[in-house]
Amino acid sequence: MNAIKLTWEDKAVNAAAVLIALVLLIVAAYPLYYVLINSLNDGADAASGNIYFYPRKFSLENYSMVFKQNYLITGLGMSVARTVVGTAAAVLVTAMAAYALTKENLRFRKLYLAMAIVTMYFSGGLIPLYFVLNELHLLNNFLVYVLPSLFTFFHCLLFMAFFRELPKELYESAYIDGANDLYIFFKLVIPLSMPVVATISLFVGVNHWNDYFVPSFFISRESLQTLPVILIRLLSLSEAQQQIQQYLGNHQSKVTMESLRYATLFVSILPITLLYPFVQRFFVKGMLVGSIKA
């Protein structure tokens, strides 16, 4: 604030805004903090409850237990694999399509756009999709994570809005030098479009990381299951108990099913929590451009 004198109204508004923001801040962030402190607390000790502000008996054993469970490691690996592969492929396919669709001389441009728009309004539904996946032998196949979500029209619109903002001279001088569109796309457009690439990557990546529907209903093979499915199993504690018993055998451990659940939860929350603040500054801008254009 400048040295301008605040009126009583200014002070009242400031105070009210800060107060409300504080409450909302706590409501939004505390559940995640609660998971963190409970995951860092000795399991047996946590069973007596009342851990609200900091770990009472600090321990990393829950985490070491998470990384000793084969099914959790496999799930984590599969989640990472589908997120990395799925996001890279989808961003590439969507960005290329968006680039082509911004070119007025693209043949059938109107037809392609119309086809894409229809998919925003209407879909064949779950069962017909299931049949198609079955026919293509995509059920129980890693590719079912990647292929169906290669293209999303909403993301395409955001890319198109961004590409249109790039200076025209960029293309024209490259054309005169004899460059083709593929070269221009990879060497000129993409390097200049990092804000929108980062934004869409975050959106797509989050969808991949969070999705539980595809592995639950299109995958039955255990080795292809992802972290969210394992978390669903841990949801029902009795099942978690069984899993733990199975893996612990008769070993004495202070890890309880609940503390293991907290640690697993936090492992699955962490990547997004770390990545997202870096991407945030891009997408606030990107959303604004997108909302005006779209």
């Binding site: 604030m1 200014d10 508004v13 805004a17 800060v18 409300i20 923001a21 909302l24 801040l25 409501v27 939004a28 962030a29 995640l32 609660y34 998971v35 409850g49 396919v93 290329m96 082509a100 001389n105 693209l106 043949r107 392609y112 086809m115 925003m120 209407f122 064949g124 539904g125 779950l126 069962i127 017909p128 049949f131 198609v132 293509l136 292929l147 169906p148 290669l150 293209f151 024209e172 054309y175 005169i176 083709n180 569109d181 593929l182 969070n210 999705d211 539980y212 209903f217 969210p228 949801l235 659940r261 699955s268 929350i269 997004i272 997202y276 997408f283 606030v284 801008k285 909302s291 779209a294």
Partner: protein, 308 residues
Amino acid sequence: MHPRKIKSSRGWDNQLILQLMLLPALLTLLIFSYLPMFGIVIAFKDYNVLDGLFGGAWVGFDHFREMFGDERFHSALRNTLAMSSIKLVVTFLAPVLFALILNELPLARFKKWTQTLTTLPHFLSYVIIATLTMIFLDPKGIVNGLLQSLGLTNGPIEFLAEPGHFWTLGASLDLWQETGWGAIIYLAAITGINTEIYEAAKVDGAGRLRTIWHINLPAIRSTIVVLLILNIGSLIYGGSNFNQSYLLGNVFNRDTSYVLGYYTLDNGLLQMRYAFATAVDLFQSCISLVLLLAANWAAKKINGSNIF
């Protein structure tokens, strides 16, 4: 150089490259969006595995008749519409208020932190949200502990086992998850307001509250209307309904937690009544299409612009 000359010298090679760049996206649409649309025919057929998609006898609207006669369908339809409507009413103004409040925060860094942390829940998997819900709303959990120590209730409230709480719970979770995210677009619109307008208002003696009412709110009014209409368009598929129904529904709250998305899944993939489930899906798609088109038409009328 003349622009037309450049264009013609590029000619077919470049057209081919552009088409190839579009091809993967086009194939994805054709295979995973358009091919399934043909599968809809089984909604009107007596499907069995041996005859395949295009074999089997036509049964007309039999599946739809059966659907309308099924009590669980009525319950699912009612729950879907009720949950979506409650969420619409409860959640569409919250981001507006939140954006207005964020904009008044005096410290830039505090504002940024608040925005970052309140947006974070939007990016969480529903599995995590469901787990957090179960942990926090457990009869022995932290929320019940707080309510009792404040003397607001006598015994613990069974948030997840009592059907009466489910709709409120669903709307509350949406508020928790999406308010921060929803505020971003409004905040961006407010930030875009010309600073001269504020200065003029100040010269005219307008205080903070009057500035909010007469400058900030009108600046985001059209955005509010467009988003409201879009939300009406998605009443049937309503974002979080299926997630909440599938992950937080249980035998105790089934009367209020069972929604259409779950009904389709139940009949289709779990009981393998493929044709019937396709009919249910088609019914949903048609209603949602009508709602979307109506919403788009209304937005055009009000805003003078098409949304898509």
